[in-house]
């Protein structure tokens, strides 16, 4: 799968003169040691947020979603905004693990494990919102086409909301399978190095009795490749289907064919920003600068500026069509409700424009792409901007609908609505802290796999060979095994 020779123009993917043993040692360090104080602080903060979220949701379930400040026109507010936002974040993980695998991008190995974990946790968070939006959450199983004696009563398979149920649950399942099958060999590594009986037992269960047999590796590779091939259209389909929730309706500002590509680009955009935020912290806290290098950060910043610009083009296209279509309702939504800074929600539109379109342009400069502080700052800005995007799409299209008598003056979330969102942050980070403590945050086997072709020591060796006469090099390559 890999070239035996890689250009010197490419930066090494792993810094330092590493041996296989050293790689294991470095990456498993956080698992085998006691967590730092910082880890405990972070873990307790996120657990506290999670508990607050649980309480908010408890109120929602007990008293109904009247606890949220949704009103007669804004029937989808923070909940669906957050749902779309979290699903979008998940997309980067699958993009890195699947699409970049198919494109043979070696740099994905440094970040794919954590990014996939992020995907799973983000989709878990996203799933909460539509489920609790149902109000009677104990009826959630009605969305599943289970054989039943209720009539029979089946869900409407022609509805985009049911497509969503299938898309999100499939996405979660496949991501989980992909992630876990990659994790099995690494958990086996932890198991074989474990000192205590308990760790041995737990990782023994988790690693499925993996032994590293050649045949197993062959099948494992085949499995990962096909899962990557399946995940690639899947990841594109998921946000496409999420965008259908809006695009198949007749609400001005939603009823557009540009939505699927625009949503997918936005999803990748926000997802990469979240990967940046997490990876910058992980490499610092766990001392993994040799594996998650500046080169990795730069590559991801390139994706951010690309997808950010695609999203920008989509915004401008929408504005153009709002005028060009000469449709009164579209024009009103785009030019009076959104692009007009002095309309009630003008601030959110221009906040979105500033965060998503203007500020990422800074990454056209190499020095900015390779600057850790700029990258971290921008990753936060981009995620705020993407949240605004979903908010703009949902609320500014709804709050002034076809019937002016029902226009709501303002929609602002209730504490429990915010609490639910904060709670999903708690869930996300609690899961991520647990993951970073109990599983290798970098795919150990995959790093070892690229070590010989893309490691710094190998690059040095190749440089030496390149200074030798060509005939000798060709001769050597011919006779290598």
């Amino acid at each position: 799968m890999h070239l035996k020779y890689e250009s010197q123009l490419r930066e090494p993917l792993v810094y330092g003169e590493k041996t296989y043993g050293q790689v294991t040692e470095d990456i498993l360090k956080p698992i085998e040691r006691k967590p730092s104080k910082l880890w405990y602080v972070g873990f307790f903060i996120s657990s506290a947020l999670l508990l607050f979220g649980v309480y908010s949701v408890y109120r929602d379930v007990t008293y109904g979603i009247g606890q949220w400040n949704l009103n007669k026109t804004v029937g989808w507010g923070w909940d669906i905004t957050n749902f779309v936002w979290w699903v979008g974040i998940g997309h980067a993980g699958t993009l890195i693990s699947a699409i970049l695998l198919l494109f043979r991008q070696g740099w994905r190995t440094g970040v794919n494990r954590a990014a996939e974990a992020m995907t799973i946790f983000a989709v878990l968070c996203a799933g909460q919102f539509p489920v609790f939006h149902m109000g009677r959450v104990w009826m959630a199983f009605y969305t599943l086409p289970l054989p039943n004696t209720r009539g029979p009563l089946w869900p409407n398979f022609n509805s985009p909301l049911l497509w969503d149920v299938f898309a999100i649950s499939t996405y979660l399942t496949v991501s989980l399978l992909f992630w876990y099958s990659g994790l099995i060999p690494d958990l086996a590594t932890v198991r074989d190095r474990a000192k205590t009986k308990f760790t041995k037992l737990m990782y023994g269960i988790g690693s499925f009795g993996w032994s590293g047999s050649t045949k197993h590796w062959q099948r494992h590779e085949s499995l990962c490749l096909v899962l990557a091939g399946l995940s690639t259209p899947l990841v594109l389909s998921v946000h496409t289907i999420v965008s259908f929730d809006f695009a198949t309706s007749v609400i001005p500002g939603w009823h557009t064919t540009i939505f699927p590509p625009y949503f997918v680009a936005g999803a990748v955009f926000s997802g990469f920003a979240m990967v940046q935020s997490l990876m910058l912290v992980v490499r610092k806290v766990f001392g993994m600068e040799d594996y998650i290098t500046i080169g990795h950060i730069e590559a991801m910043n390139k994706v951010i500026v690309l997808t950010g610009s695609i999203v920008g083009v989509a915004y401008l296209t929408e504005l153009f069509m709002g005028w060009y279509s000469q449709n009164k309702y579209e024009g009103y939504t785009f030019w009076y409700s959104r692009a007009n800074l002095f309309s009630p929600y003008g601030w959110s539109y221009w906040g979105m424009m500033a965060c998503n379109v203007l500020s990422p342009q800074i990454f056209w400069f190499r020095s900015m792409r390779r600057n850790i502080f700029v990258t971290f700052f921008m990753s936060v800005i981009v995620n705020i901007g993407m949240w605004f995007e979903r908010f703009v799409i949902i609320v500014t299209s709804l709050y002034r609908d076809y019937l002016p008598s029902s226009w709501s003056i303002y929609y602002s979330p209730s504490p429990w609505e915010i609490g639910f969102f904060v709670g999903t942050f708690g869930l996300f980070f609690t899961c991520f802290f647990m993951f970073s403590k109990y599983a290798p945050v970098i795919a150990v086997a995959e790093i070892k796999y690229i070590l010989k072709t893309s490691g710094e020591s190998f690059k040095n060796k190749i440089t030496k060979i390149e200074t030798e006469p060509l005939d000798k090099f060709v001769d050597e390559q011919k006779h290598a095994h």
């Binding site: 041996t19 296989y20 043993g21 790689v23 294991t24 009677r136 009826m139 009539g151 029979p152 009563l153 089946w154 398979f157 022609n158 049911l162 497509w163 299938f166 898309a167 499939t170 399942t173 496949v174 399978l177 099958s181 099995i184 060999p185 086996a188 590594t189 074989d192 190095r193 023994g204 269960i205 988790g206 499925f208 009795g209 993996w210 032994s211 590293g212 047999s213 050649t214 045949k215 197993h216 590796w217 062959q218 099948r219 494992h220 590779e221 085949s222 499995l223 096909v226 899962l227 399946l230 995940s231 899947l234 389909s237 289907i241 259908f244 150990v444 086997a445 995959e446 070892k448 095994h481």
Partner: protein
């Protein structure tokens, strides 16, 4: 179980591993397996292993998923539950594509992972024999199966000369935990699959037993938290819900008349009586049928006092010989009553005036206005020809 003997050689680099594999195979030894910390490319061909067909299994599962989704949705929406969604066709294939695609992916992924676990004979709680613990760390561990004739000492020497950093001889009881490919499916996995099948089947075939539950584990909508339509207001108040069960102030039921909002005067006051002057009769004209009805109502309820001829001389008064002590009002011909606004007349009929009682319970709002209109028409009929003669 047979006891097998193995010679184990550990290498630290794939560069030494490949020539070693070649040499060992050429020397006629049977390599049981090579355990590596990461997928070493070309090793499978060097060991003479055939290409895996796991991806074919994945394709088959994908087809199953596609067919399941298409068949399931098709059957549900055209045969079992043909609903009319906005007049669209029941067989709406384009709208099924998203779910058909998702099911294709789901079936393929889940099926492949399960197949992978099954053919590799791995799974939670499965423990396999490991020849060297560093095989998952940094060693490439070659394991050679010995026969009766094998001289293990010589073989270890050969491995050492090929670059092995560590060699040893191990005897292991043969079984599936060695991870041999030609072994039949392990009984453990079969047992697990059988168990899953039996449980899922028995869960389905519960018959009527499930209907006679003592315990409701998922009550669907049996106990609604919502306010029931005709629930007692007190129950709702006790639940802590503010709900007065009354329509909003000023609302008028569909099809009903505009209510007369002026209340009855307190004794001694005429404030509301005077205020009633401003109320306009919602009935502006009477059809001949209505006139007939109004006349009938007048005779039944009013005429007994006010007289058939509207002269206040009904059977109950009869020029003072009737049981009624005071003379009822002369409705037609008396300027006081000719000029009286209809709203005020309505007040009197509704609440009563002087000795006359309330007729609100005998006549509906509409009937009262009808009767009043009828009286006004009679008044006009008498007064109008007069004005006409005056002008002439």
């Amino acid at each position: 179980m047979a006891i097998k003997k193995f010679v184990v050689g550990c290498f630290t680099d794939e560069k030494e591993l490949f020539p070693a594999v070649k040499t060992i195979r050429k020397s006629g030894f049977k390599i049981h397996d090579v355990y590596t910390p990461y997928p070493v490319h070309g090793l499978d061909t060097a060991l003479g292993l055939r290409e895996t067909s796991l991806h074919t299994a994945g394709f088959i599962y994908a087809l199953i998923g596609l067919c399941t989704a298409f068949g399931g949705i098709g059957w549900i929406l055209t045969i079992d539950w043909p609903q009319n969604y906005g007049g669209k066709p029941h067989f709406a294939l384009p709208a099924w594509i998203p779910i058909m695609f998702e099911c294709t992916v789901l079936f393929s992924a889940v099926g492949m992972v399960l197949t992978f676990c099954y053919i590799c004979q791995i799974g939670p709680l499965v423990k396999k024999h490991r020849f060297h613990l560093r095989a998952t760390d940094d060693y490439f561990v070659m394991v050679i199966e010995c026969t009766q004739q094998t001289n293990t000492h010589d073989l270890e020497g050969l491995l050492k000369s090929l670059g092995a950093c560590e060699t040893k001889t191990e005897t292991v009881e043969s079984g599936w935990w060695l991870g041999r490919y030609d072994l039949p499916a392990p009984s453990v996995a079969s047992a697990v699959i059988a168990l899953i099948l039996i449980t899922s089947l028995s869960a389905c075939s519960n018959g009527d037993a499930g209907r006679e539950q003592n315990r409701v584990y998922m009550p669907d909508m049996a106990y609604s938290r919502a306010v029931e339509t005709y629930d007692d207001k007190e129950h709702i108040t006790n639940k802590g819900i503010f709900y007065n069960a009354e329509p909003a102030k000023g609302s008028i039921a569909r099809g009903s008349d505009i209510p007369f909002l002026i209340a009855k005067d307190t004794p001694g006051s005429t404030l509301n009586y005077l205020a009633a002057q401003k109320i306009i009769n919602p009935i502006t004209s009477l059809s001949s049928d209505d006139q007939e009805e109004a006349h009938r109502l007048y005779l039944v309820y009013c005429g007994i006092c006010h007289g058939q001829k509207y002269d206040g001389n009904g059977p109950l008064y009869k020029d003072g010989s009737g049981p009624f002590p005071a003379k009822p009002a002369t409705l037609v011909g008396d300027p006081k009553y000719d000029a009286m606004p209809e709203g005020q007349m309505f007040y009197s009929v509704t609440y009563g005036k002087n000795l006359m009682g309330s007729y609100a319970s005998q006549l509906t709002t509409k009937q009262r206005w009808m009767v009043i209109k009828y009286i006004k028409m009679q008044q006009e009929a008498v007064s109008k020809p007069q004005t006409n003669t005056n002008s002439k």
